[in-house]
């Protein structure tokens, strides 16, 4: 049994899983991670996960877009080659706004999404760190590090909490190469 690395508690209902988390925490069992087929609202508070700072990143990237657009248009139209269009001023700020707006949105969107990909290590070809194949389908899986906890007591708590299946994995992640 000492070869067991991770204990996975499978639930078929998100609400039962949520109360399962409560019971595990009451028994002082540390939860490694939870894998679900869709976002579970309120789970971050239970697991003590901090608010995402991605909105701040989005704001900064958006601001960068605004500044980039303004600098570009100002340089081109006012500094580098001012044109006399009916005697109107070269620095026609209202006309700069559409391009500034578009680049703000473009920079905010791409900057934020690529930050998200970067911090979550998402990129094409990345080997998936998946503990159970059904977690992307219909199972709500709580993963517990077996080396930090007593396996039998974890099993008992999970069963008590209504887990429909308990798995003892000898390796952390599923291998996608074995066929």
């Amino acid at each position: 049994m000492s070869k067991v690395k991770y204990i996975l508690g499978h639930f078929d209902d998100p609400d039962v899983m949520m109360s399962g988390i409560d019971q595990l925490q009451k028994s002082n069992i540390a939860i490694e991670d939870v894998f679900t087929p869709f976002p579970i609202h309120g789970i971050e508070n239970k697991l003590g996960i901090k608010r995402s700072r991605l909105p701040i990143a989005a704001f900064c990237f958006g601001l960068l877009g605004t500044i980039t657009a303004f600098t570009m248009v100002y340089y081109m139209l006012v500094i580098d080659w001012p044109m006399n269009i009916g005697g109107k001023p070269a620095f026609a700020f209202p006309d700069f706004i559409p391009v500034m707006f578009e680049l703000t949105v473009l920079f905010a969107a791409y900057g934020m999404v690529f930050t998200f990909f970067y911090v979550n290590h998402l990129f094409p070809g990345r080997a998936p760190r998946v503990m159970d194949l059904r977690a992307t389908n219909d199972r709500f899986v709580i993963a517990i590090d077996a080396s930090l906890n007593d396996i039998n007591s974890v099993d008992a708590v999970l069963k008590e909490a209504g887990a429909i299946e308990i798995k003892h994995n000898e390796r952390k992640y599923i291998s996608y190469d074995e066929e």
């Binding site: 078929d12 209902d13 998100p14 609400d15 991670d33 939870v34 894998f35 679900t36 087929p37 869709f38 976002p39 579970i40 609202h41 309120g42 789970i43 971050e44 697991l47 996960i49 995402s52 991605l54 909105p55 989005a58 958006g62 081109m76 139209l77 580098d80 080659w81 269009i85 006309d95 700069f96 559409p98 391009v99 578009e102 680049l103 949105v105 473009l106 905010a108 969107a109 791409y110 934020m112 999404v113 998200f116 990909f117 911090v119 979550n120 998402l122 990129f123 094409p124 070809g125 080997a127 998936p128 760190r129 998946v130 194949l133 059904r134 992307t136 389908n137 219909d138 996608y176 066929e179």
Partner: protein
Amino acid sequence: MSSHSESIIREPLITGKAISYSQITEDICAPVERMPSKAWWIGFSIAVAGLLLWLVAVSYTFWNGIGAWGLNKTVGWAWDITNFVWWVGIGHAGTLISAILLLFRQNWRNSINRSAEAMTIFAVICAASFIIAHMGRAWLFHWALPLPNQYGSLWVNFNSPLVWDVFAISTYFSVSLIFWYTGLLPDIATIRDRAQGLRRRIYSILSFGWNGSVKTWQRFETVSLILAGVSTPLVLSVHTIVSFDFATSVIPGWHTTIFPPYFVAGAIFSGFAMVLTLLIIARKVLGFENYITMAHIESMNKIIILTGSIVGVAYGTEFFIAWYSGVEYEQYAFINRATGPYWWAYWSMITCNVISPQLFWFKKIRTSITATWILSIFVNIGMWFERFVIIVTSLHRDYLPSSWAMFYPTWVDVSIFIGSLGLFFTLFLLFLRVLPAIAMAEVKLLLKGSSEQSKLKLIEHGHAALPEGYNGSIEVENAKN
């Protein structure tokens, strides 16, 4: 959260009595995992024939120049820009569904947003093809971008709405694409974890290694919300800027301040019509009736009544302001639209856009699949005519009567337009084959609160009862079994 139960009076968003999370996965993955049906092959063959026609006509245009089209000295923009604006407008429904309805927490968007966003992307590709083609010398398209060059550098004119349009359309395409793809990651991972061999390898690459952990989902939701927040003003800006192409000119009939809101409403109107045209067929062929329900169709029909009415009011306002302005040329432009040589185009527009959508006030009609589908085609046609009327009738009789002319399309004009439909449907049918057409994760989110079975359970357990005279789609008889 999933423990939250929705009022039973609200129409259920997932019908069916025994839907489970795995059932949703099975149903939505089925079209991707099985061999294509005969219906798909027939549709795909027709679409590819259209695509080939498009290739021929576009190549002919590139080889011979835009003299191949029916343009003349007076009518310098015709089907090219009509088709461009029509396609961009169609794209807008996808962003409305994925962004604006997300901000308004309209849960019925969950099962239609994926295919509508795909439609947005393909429609913008079609629109962009007309912009490139109408430049004539397509190989010089980069002249529209602010790139250093050997003429000074001579920069593009940022005072011009045509340059704003380049930025608006390319930003719109880029942001829609990344919004759509980020939303696809969890669903691609679902297919990956069900697949074997080469398929698993391909979907594994496409899934970016998605694993559905708590932190991933939390950041994913943040990203979705912010993307929706920035896409909402973006989509409004895109058609506003498209309308500036006209509104900032001095052509009577174009030079009006009403254009931005009027174009945006028209865009959403035509976009929803196209969503209905596509999804009514797709839900039947792919077996998605439990997820794209009558409630979805009815909701979209209600948006069509609203936006169709806004467009109708805009037509009236334009006419009134032309009269009220006292400007002879402005007045003539509008009288000429309704009674001039293009009267048939104007009245086709009014019939299809203003009159026929009003039929949706009748519940019988807006809950009839056949009627909805036919009326959605009417709206598609009407919105094409709207752009044709705005562009061609405003140009064809200018200030100098000796240069008045008519526009007659050539075979190239017609082929590029029909061909662009082929391009669109080829892309859309390929999408249905390789990617899940409904956002599985988002639909699963609704199962415990907004599905028919969850509502039936509430009735069964005596937590709620349907009011007298209830005529929605929950079948009460089954509740007692």
